[in-house]
Symmetry: C2
Subunit: 327 residues, 2 copies
C-alpha cells in the first residue's frame, strides 16, 4: 500500500547495494521486509524454515531454507553480509509457557550462537525484533514507555527480554552495533491465519469462511495493532539511525479491544452481525498493551501511517483471495 521508497526515505540511500540477511525472511514480517529491501536496491538474502508462497516474494530475494539452530547453515548465510535483520521466533506466547526451557533454548541460546557468528563474520549491524506485546507484562501505566518495568507473564516474553540483554552485552564487550524494536501486534497480508498468528488475521479468516469469531475472554483484552508496513518502515528507520538509543517501541500508540476488532471486521465484511464464541482467557494474555512510541518518532522521524480501516480492508482482500484460491 505504501510504495517502498517512501517507507523510510532517509533509509533508502543507506540500503542501496547493501548486503542484508533476513533471518525469518520467509515469514509474515520477513516477507514484507525482504520485498521492501529488494525494492530499495539492497542485496537481500532470506533464511528460514519455510516461506510464504514464492509468488509474493520479490524475485531478487535469494532464499535459503534452514533451521535457526543449524549453526553451520547459519554461518554459511552470514558470510559477506553487512546487516542482519533477526526476526526469528521459535515459539508463540501461549505455547512457550508449556515448555519454557525449550523456548529459552531455541530463541535465546540460538541467538547467542548467532551473536558469536556475527562477531567472527564481521557483520556490521543487527536489527532485532523483540516483543512490545509481552516483555512488559501487565503494565502499570498506559501507554508503556521503553523505561517501564519488564515483568513478562509468558516464557516467550522472558526469552525475548533475555535476548535483548545479551545484545547490549555484546555491544559493550565486542562493539556490536544493534537496534531492538519492541513491536506491538502487527497485522496485514501474509500473516499465517491458519496457525493463529495474530488475532486480526484469525478473525478475518473466520469471518470470510463463515465460522463464528473466536474471542478469548470477555473481549475487553486490549492490544496495540500496527500495520506490517509501518513495522517494516520502523525497521528501515532504525537501520539508518545513527543516534545513541538502542531500544525502541514500535506500535500504533492506540489501544483497541478484541471486541472492537470484531466490530471492525464485521463492518469491513459488510454482511451484518457475525456469530461470536467467547473462549476461556489465556494465561499468557495481559489485559492491556499499548505502546508509547514517542522515542522512535523523536529520534528517527518514523511514525505509523497506515489507517486502521484501510489496513484492515487490504488484509481482508488478501484473506478473501487466499480462501477463494483454496476452494
Amino acid at each position: 500500500m505504501i510504495p517502498p521508497e517512501s517507507l523510510a526515505p532517509e533509509a533508502a540511500a543507506s540500503l542501496r547495494n547493501r548486503s542484508c540477511l533476513v533471518l525469518g525472511g520467509g515469514g509474515f514480517l520477513g516477507t514484507h521486509l525482504c520485498n521492501a529491501l529488494a525494492a530499495l536496491g539492497a542485496r537481500v538474502h532470506a533464511f528460514g524454515r519455510s516461506r510464504t508462497e514464492a509468488a509474493v516474494i520479490d524475485r531478487r530475494v535469494h532464499w535459503t531454507a534452514g533451521e535457526f539452530n543449524d549453526i553451520a547453515a547459519l554461518a554459511k548465510v552470514i558470510e559477506g553480509q553487512e546487516t542482519v535483520f533477526h526476526l526469528i521466533s521459535a515459539s508463540v506466547p501461549e505455547s512457550s509457557n508449556r515448555d519454557p526451557a525449550a523456548d529459552l533454548s531455541a530463541n535465546t541460546i540460538g541467538t547467542l550462537h548467532l551473536l558469536e557468528l556475527l562477531r567472527s563474520g564481521g557483520v556490521q549491524k543487527l536489527i532485532f525484533t523483540s516483543s512490545g506485546g509481552t516483555v512488559y507484562g501487565v503494565p502499570e501505566h498506559i501507554p508503556i514507555k521503553e523505561t517501564a518495568a519488564t515483568d513478562p507473564i509468558s516464557a516467550y516474553g522472558i526469552s525475548k527480554l533475555a535476548t535483548e540483554k545479551y545484545l547490549a552485552l555484546y555491544h559493550r564487550l565486542h562493539g556490536l552495533d544493534y537496534r531492538i524494536l519492541r513491536v506491538s501486534n502487527p497485522y496485514g497480508r501474509y500473516q499465517a491465519v491458519h496457525r493463529r498468528q495474530g488475532v486480526v488475521g484469525a478473525l478475518l479468516h473466520r469471518a470470510v469462511t463463515g465460522e463464528p469469531l473466536e474471542i478469548w475472554g470477555t473481549g475487553d483484552v486490549t492490544r496495540d495493532f500496527i500495520h506490517v508496513e509501518d513495522v517494516v518502515a520502523a525497521m528501515l528507520s532504525a537501520h539508518a539511525y545513527q543516534g545513541s538509543h538502542r531500544l525502541f517501541n514500535v506500535g500504533s500508540g492506540h489501544g483497541m479491544s478484541i471486541r472492537e476488532v470484531a466490530d471492525s471486521v464485521e463492518r469491513a465484511l459488510g454482511r451484518g452481525p457475525l456469530e461470536r464464541n467467547y473462549m476461556r482467557t489465556r494465561a499468557a494474555d495481559v489485559p492491556v498493551n499499548i505502546l508509547d512510541t514517542s522515542l522512535i518518532q523523536r529520534e528517527t522521524g518514523w511514525r505509523p501511517r497506515v489507517d486502521w480501516e484501510e489496513g484492515l480492508a487490504d488484509t481482508l482482500s488478501w484473506v478473501s483471495a487466499q480462501v477463494e484460491s483454496a476452494k
Copy 2:
C-alpha cells in the same frame, strides 16, 4: 559470631522440624545457611558439587554430592522437602562473559528443570539467591532500589535476571511460593579464597601469605560488602515473611572502594603497608554497586548487624588458620 537463634528470631519457630533442602549447601553461603538451619531445629539436606571441609558443617546436616544438571539426582533429594533454598551458581561474572550460552544453560535452564521438579514434588517454598551486584549493571542512582533498571554487563547477571523472571512466571502459572534475595558482595569465613571467590577473602589470603594485594583497576571500584551471617539472617527472614513482596535487596547499604578494603586489611593484619599490584580493569565490573535495603528492613525487620571491622577480623582469623594448616 551471631548465635543462630538470634539471627532471625521471628524465623526460628517456622523452621523447627521443617524439611529444608539447600542447593549449593556445600559452598560458602550454603555452609553457613545449613549450620544455622540445623541449629534452629530444621531437618537439613545439603546438595551440591562439593563442600567445605566436613569439620565445619553441623553433623545433623545430611549431604548428597551431585551435579545441578543431574535431574534424576535432583528429583531424589527434592522428595519430601518443604522448603528449597537455591544457592547454586555455575559460573562467576568474569568467566560467564566468555561463554554466555553455557552460563545460561547451566544456571537458568538448570533452574527451569528444578522448577518443574518443585511443581511435581509439591515443595511449598523456594528461596533463591540472585545477584544484587550484577543484575542492575551500571546504576543511575545510588543506593540502588529493587525497582531500578536492570541492565547487566555480565552474562552472569543476565542469567540471574532471567531466572528471577521465571520464578515470577511459575508463581503466576502454578502458584509457586518464592522469594528472591538480590545479595550484594558477601564475605566471611569459608569463602573459597583460592578460587577468587570474593575480593575480601582474596585480599586477606594474599596479605596472610605475604603476596602483593591484587587490585583491579584503580582501586576506586566500589562495592557493598555484607557479612555472610547477615545474608543468612536475611534468608531466614525472607523464609518466614508472609507479605506480598517477592524480591529484596540484601546488602549493607554502604559502599567501600577496593582501596579502602585493602586499607582495612592492612589495619587488621597490623604489619604496616602491604605491597599492591594494580591490574587491568575487568569488563564485567561495574564501577559502583551499593544496594538500598529499606524494603527488606521495612517488610521483615531484618537489618545488617555485623560490624565491618569485626567481620573482617573474624574472616582474617579463619584465613590465617587455613594458611597455617596448609603449611
